[in-house]
């Protein structure tokens, strides 16, 4: 469903170009969930942005649903891949109601039954009718993230990209959002590519985990192997150690 073949991503051009991701190769079959972990600056979000079509890639190939894509995409290509951002405050237009936010994708793709779709999308993410005409500042962080998920799903994408979808949320809200994502994935057979710095969150939602460091994919393993510490790379070990919490000895 998602195929990345030797993808290199650079910021800037010419001699000032900085390579953020080197030769990244990953293939995600339909219905699978793959997570990328790594520190800030490891290039994990950059990969996600290139897959989303927000930034161009310098070399290699990106294929989505069997179609080779670029930064410039057709409206139909856009529809297959949607994304949920990290910051539930910044990803919703501050001056628009939930209704307006959800009406935008309907208008862009000239979808039929717009009204019904908006109501359905809200119900699916667990928001009631009373939330439909509120502004983002009248919603809690968790509710905002639900709106962002509804906005992505209203287009019925086959691929959902998640950029740290719960790292700005409280633990109890994080559980709700993770459950929601797991349910939606099951119901719709979504293919997920998720980025997070939290190993436990990734392992909860994804079957396979890629570890990134300094712009390279250093290891790709399964969540089960990760839990049993069956890892090969030093950096992954360090990550596992840090994840266990502070060592008081």
């Amino acid at each position: 469903m998602i195929g990345l073949d030797n993808v290199t991503i650079a910021y800037g051009t010419g001699t000032r170009a900085v390579i953020a991701v080197h030769d990244f190769t990953l293939s995600v079959p339909e219905g699978e969930a793959v997570g990328l972990v790594g520190e800030s600056g490891s290039g994990k979000s950059t990969v996600l942005r290139a897959v989303a079509g927000l930034i161009p890639h310098a070399k290699g190939e990106i294929a989505l649903a069997g179609v080779r894509v670029d930064r410039r995409r057709t409206t139909a290509q856009r529809k297959t891949t949607q994304m949920v951002f990290q910051d539930p405050y910044g990803s919703l237009h501050p001056n628009q109601t939930v209704d307006q936010i959800l009406a935008l994708p309907v208008a862009i793709h000239r979808l039929d039954r717009g009204e019904a779709r908006i109501v359905q999308a809200l119900t699916e993410v667990g928001l009631g009718r009373e939330h439909r005409y509120r502004y983002p500042h009248q919603l809690s962080g968790g509710q905002r993230q639900r709106v962002a998920i509804a906005r992505a799903l209203i287009l019925e994408p086959r691929i959902l990209l998640l950029d740290e979808p719960t790292s700005a949320l409280d633990v109890s809200v994080q559980a709700e959002i993770l459950n929601l994502l797991a349910r939606l994935r099951r119901e719709r057979g979504l293919t997920l590519l998720m980025v997070s710095h939290d190993l436990a969150v990734i392992a909860h939602l994804c079957e396979r985990i890629g570890v990134m460091s300094a712009g390279r994919l250093v290891e790709i393993t399964t969540a089960t192997a990760m839990a049993k510490s069956q890892v090969t790379h030093d950096y992954t070990r360090e990550l596992l150690r840090s994840n266990a919490g502070f060592d008081r000895s």
């Binding site: 989303a52 079509g53 927000l54 995409r73 409206t75 856009r78 529809k79 891949t81 949607q82 994304m83 951002f85 990290q86 910051d87 910044g90 990803s91 919703l92 237009h93 501050p94 001056n95 628009q96 109601t97 209704d99 307006q100 935008l104 994708p105 862009i108 793709h109 009718r129 009373e130 939330h131 005409y133 509120r134 502004y135 009248q138 962002a148 906005r151 287009l155």
Partner: protein
């Protein structure tokens, strides 16, 4: 009253309309606490009412009716603000002059905002070469002192209200283009813009539905604050004989004609001068209030 209030402040509105009205109402509740801003709003409203109902307040004939026998009369019940050097009633002229002032202000606003947005939004959104070309163009217009450029245009186009409006508008738009560009650039990288892009929205749609609503509030605030300057420029052009032509009761021209008799018949120049001052002050207070209201919300 309370029912309307509850409807407006409902935290869970039932329609797009109600949500929008509620937002405006909340903004109004905040604005209302600012006494100076309310004074400004009052002055501006008064100006508008005066312009609309001018024929009910004063006699249109009196603005041009020359009565040389009654020239330079002081303030009296018959002539509330006295008469000018041609014996015309200054009160009637000030009242009808508000129409000219308001027309100039409205026309300038109608030209300046769309031009500013049309230049600034693409410059900020696309960046690169588009930005460079559009901003250099803006710089050229910014390089001239405003009144001098307006004077040159007015002189070239010939005197008259329409040409004064065009001259003022031509010199007033660059700051709006800059403002729109700056606002667009700060929002360009926002995640909600990226989300719209991801959903397949075209650049035009993103600019029109996502960016314009955010720019508009600061543009309107800037415009309100600029109004005083526009009124003064219009008055300046009128004073120099390049604006509204006699016998039109333009305030700037009235000040100009009264200056020869300023020491003996002070009211001839002072009354229209006061009108200019009060209206400018009103727009400034209103603009400040709007800016404060905008600050507290974000």
């Amino acid at each position: 009253m309370t029912a309307a209030r509850t409807w407006l402040l409902d935290p869970a509105p039932a329609s797009r309309m109600q949500a929008r009205c509620g937002r405006w109402f909340r903004a109004w509740l905040g604005f209302r606490r600012n006494k100076l801003a309310m004074t400004g709003l009052g002055i501006v409203l008064l100006l508008v009412l005066m312009a609309v109902f001018a024929p009910l307040i004063a006699d249109r004939q009196a603005t041009t009716l020359q009565d040389l026998g009654n020239r330079l009369q002081p303030v009296s019940w018959q002539h509330l603000f006295g008469t000018d050097e041609l014996g015309r009633d200054i009160f009637a002229r000030v009242v009808f002059g508000s129409r000219i002032t308001l027309t100039i202000v409205a026309m300038v606003a109608l030209i300046v905002v769309p031009v500013g947005l049309a230049i600034g939004l693409p410059a900020g959104y696309f960046g690169g070469i588009v930005d460079k070309v559009l901003m250099r163009l803006t710089d050229i217009f910014l390089a001239f002192p405003r009144l001098v450029l307006a004077l040159a245009f007015a002189a070239a186009l010939g005197p008259g209200i329409e040409n004064a409006v065009i001259a003022i508008a031509l010199t007033a738009w660059p700051p709006y283009a800059r403002l729109a560009r700056a606002e667009t650039m700060t929002r360009r990288r926002a995640e909600f813009i990226q989300a719209a892009e991801l959903q397949g929205a075209s650049a035009l749609r993103i600019i029109a539905t996502q960016i314009v609503p955010l720019c508009l509030s600061s543009v309107i605030i800037r415009l309100t604050l600029d109004m005083a300057g526009i009124i003064l420029t219009a008055a300046g052009l009128g004073f120099l004989g390049l604006g509204a032509q006699p016998p039109a009761p333009e305030w700037g021209a009235m000040v100009s004609s009264g200056r020869q008799v300023l020491l003996d018949q002070w009211w001839v120049a002072t009354i229209p001068g006061l009108a200019i001052f009060i209206v400018s002050l009103g727009f400034n207070l209103l603009g400040d209030g709007l800016r404060d209201a905008g600050d507290s919300r974000s």
